[in-house]
Symmetry: C2
Subunit: 445 residues, 2 copies
């Protein structure tokens, strides 16, 4: 039996197994390549956490669809053609939240899975099995179309229905890097891919049954008008890079070893460039590579103090920069987290005397490291304070991949952190006023 | 280590353990009390499935918060009062989807959990642990306020922060019964309870930190204005029944034995009436108790055919009754599912010649049984066809508790089924036209 999220049945969790130890060794190489001290308390256990997360996230390699479907096929009369529930008797489970790992870059991607079938042979399958089978193939290194095809084929073989249809809405993170992020504030958001796969009576993409399937998606508010061509272009943004010279041979070799430990063949065509691409992503978060970007800060601060000397007695107004997007990498799991920072401060003029771009640079600077959100928030506040005065409040909202991709699967969850300095730490009304100025962000994250 | 949803690590899954065998025996008594043949193929393995589901769903009794938090406390400098991230340095995880079992009636209830704390002692906790700890207490028989209090106390003890705050938005199903459902079509929807619990600097409900916490919830679109009184009235609708005479002593005794097998004390005050209440719920779905309600059907049909004799040659118009709500009980897991049925047909007048109420009665009749959604859909179609003519299309949309409460945890997922007869089975355009007439239902389910 497969046991589920948070049910918390104790299992050994891969600890101490050879494959895990190999991954841990490789992760230590990666951390050192990022310039980290692998004995630092916050990351000392990161190799073990990464090994567990990766092996859980790719456990589909060891799973068998027959074991899942077996025993969950139920006899159900009246399912032959000509009866209600015959042809036209579509069963579809919509809005299954799953995630997978991109085989091009090793980053997780999110999937809304819609899966259906038309029963035949007087047989239906337990609804939860559609979800379990989808998960078996999601928990491997994938690309969207192959994921859809593999789910489809497995259900067709396992249930032997009149046909199976699968539609996946996939979301891949953009692939910002520490250089472009300083130039381009628009790196937030997702790359979308909509793919489908059909077997049996769904094999023909123009089959009438597809209209029924899409009709059932439509009134759940799912837009499938741009749907579902097999020849969709490569979606992983790392693929658009021109040939990447191996950025760091030791790190690349370490990632190759991780692929092998997960049961993959690193010489498989789609995986050949993956280690270099993952290392390129990871190196965005090396501990020191963009220090120089902030060199101008002290001078700015001095200039400001000079020019602001005559405004010290003027009334101070609460100001705000909202929704400064950022990317970061969780130091506990080496998984991305991303979100927005809101920065509140006081200024005599009621306007930002240094411009939004410098605040963006500060946020990016602290994002592009191995981080925890609590520290990121505090560091932004302290640095902003050195530029914009002592009264600073920073709110960071972020989605953490580690909250969805390690058996926790809290897809909608979102973490908010606050750091306050000066007046904001002593005046609750100032905090409340600032929080009221932040717009509803539920849609953004 | 705790392993997660769909990760599918093989564990024994309680099978064959004494507690499970006791629950299986009790479930057989319940099935027989419902008038079911316990050897029928669809429910032959239901006792085992129910035992596993209940033991997974209450696994929190065997879990230990210290095991979870241990090793996930990370040193983080700059978290003392006076620094950014000191007082005011709130960390909050929002929108955790969890579920629990109501101790009053044994039905599952859904929870949106928002949990936060203010770090102290230069120590933060891994974000996922807030979710894991919430789950430990959710996976027990609960009521909302105690659930909030237990999460709060456990995190305060485990992390020793400046304070912990917990806000739960709980949704309990209504408690329709087969009698009232025929009278009251408005039994759909949820009973809501909003509760909070605070410790440390959140212990005082008027503390400033609560404003910060509520502020962070507000801009995620979470309405907490009616918030959070401890003295909220009893929320479980079964509690509003006047004293229930034990409806069936053997069934009630069986439920008491299940409580004991789960590690609960059936003589605990809050549980004394639970077996009788659960049996009362379950008896709604006994295999035969409302047959008589449909006695009028044949006569209706005959009258219709007579009165409609002269309209047979007239043009037929597609008609529809949308959003007929229903409750049912999944025969595989004895867990509720609920949703809406949409019924399409043709009539000469373009109006429903028999009234919406009779269609509602048909839907309720087939809902109030142990069911699977596929069969429910077909049965509605066939019966409607006997009343309204051979061209019938039925779409059923439902949320299945068994998709969220057994380690699958696909909270947003939703199942749609179609059954077609006559013209709808041969004319794809008729199906498409009917599907286009169904409004977006994503909000309803």
């Amino acid at each position: 039996m497969k046991l589920g999220s948070g049910c918390g049945v104790e299992v050994n969790g891969f600890e101490g197994e050879n494959e895990s130890l190999e991954i841990e060794d490789a992760v230590r190489v990666l951390l050192q390549g990022l310039g980290e001290d692998i004995n630092r308390e916050g990351i000392r256990n990161t190799p073990l956490r990464v090994a567990k997360a990766l092996r859980e996230g790719t456990i589909g390699y060891t799973q068998n669809v027959e074991d899942i479907v077996h025993g969950a096929l139920f006899p159900e009369s009246g399912l032959e053609s000509g009866h209600a529930g015959g042809v036209g008797g579509l069963v579809i489970v919509r809005d299954l939240d799953i995630f997978s790992y991109c085989e091009s870059c090793l980053l997780p991607f999110k999937v809304k899975c819609h899966v259906g079938y038309v029963p035949s042979g007087q047989r239906v399958v337990g609804l939860s099995k559609l979800s379990r089978v989808a998960d078996v193939f999601a928990k491997r290194l994938q690309d969207p179309q192959r994921l859809a095809d593999e789910i489809c084929i497995a259900l067709q073989d396992g249930i032997k229905p009149a046909g199976v249809a699968v539609v996946l809405q996939c979301l891949h993170t953009h692939f910002p890097n520490s250089e472009s992020a300083f130039l381009d504030s628009n790196h937030q958001g997702w790359i979308k891919s909509l793919v489908s796969s059909g077997s049996g009576i769904f094999e023909d993409e123009t089959a009438d049954m597809w209209s029924d399937f899409m009709g059932l998606l439509r009134f759940r508010g799912i837009d499938v008008t741009q749907a579902c061509k097999r020849d969709c272009t490569v979606w992983c943004p790392s693929q658009t890079f021109s040939k990447i010279a191996p950025p760091n041979l030791m790190m690349t070799t370490a990632v190759t070893s991780i692929l092998r430990s997960l049961g993959e063949d690193p010489t498989r065509e789609e995986l050949i460039g993956t280690p270099a691409r993952f290392v390129k992503w990871l190196l965005n978060f090396s501990s020191s590579n963009i220090e120089m970007k902030l060199n101008g800060f002290c001078q700015n601060r001095i200039d400001l103090l000079k020019s602001g000397g005559d405004s010290i007695q003027r009334e101070q107004h609460m100001c705000s920069e909202l929704n400064i997007s950022f990317w970061s990498q969780c130091e506990h799991h080496l998984l991305p987290f991303h979100g927005v920072a809101h920065i509140g401060y006081y200024s005599a003029e009621g306007i930002n005397p240094i411009g939004k771009q410098l605040l963006q640079s500060i946020v990016h600077f602290y994002g592009f490291k191995l981080q925890v959100q609590e520290r990121l928030t505090r560091q932004i506040a302290e640095t902003v304070s050195s530029v914009l005065g002592e009264d600073v409040m920073v709110v960071v909202e972020a989605s953490h991949t580690c909250m969805i991709s390690r058996g926790i699967e809290k897809f909608g969850s979102n973490t908010a952190t606050i750091a306050v300095l000066g007046r904001f730490s002593t005046d609750p009304l100032a905090r409340t006023k600032y929080l009221l100025s932040i717009p509803n962000s539920a849609k953004n994250l």
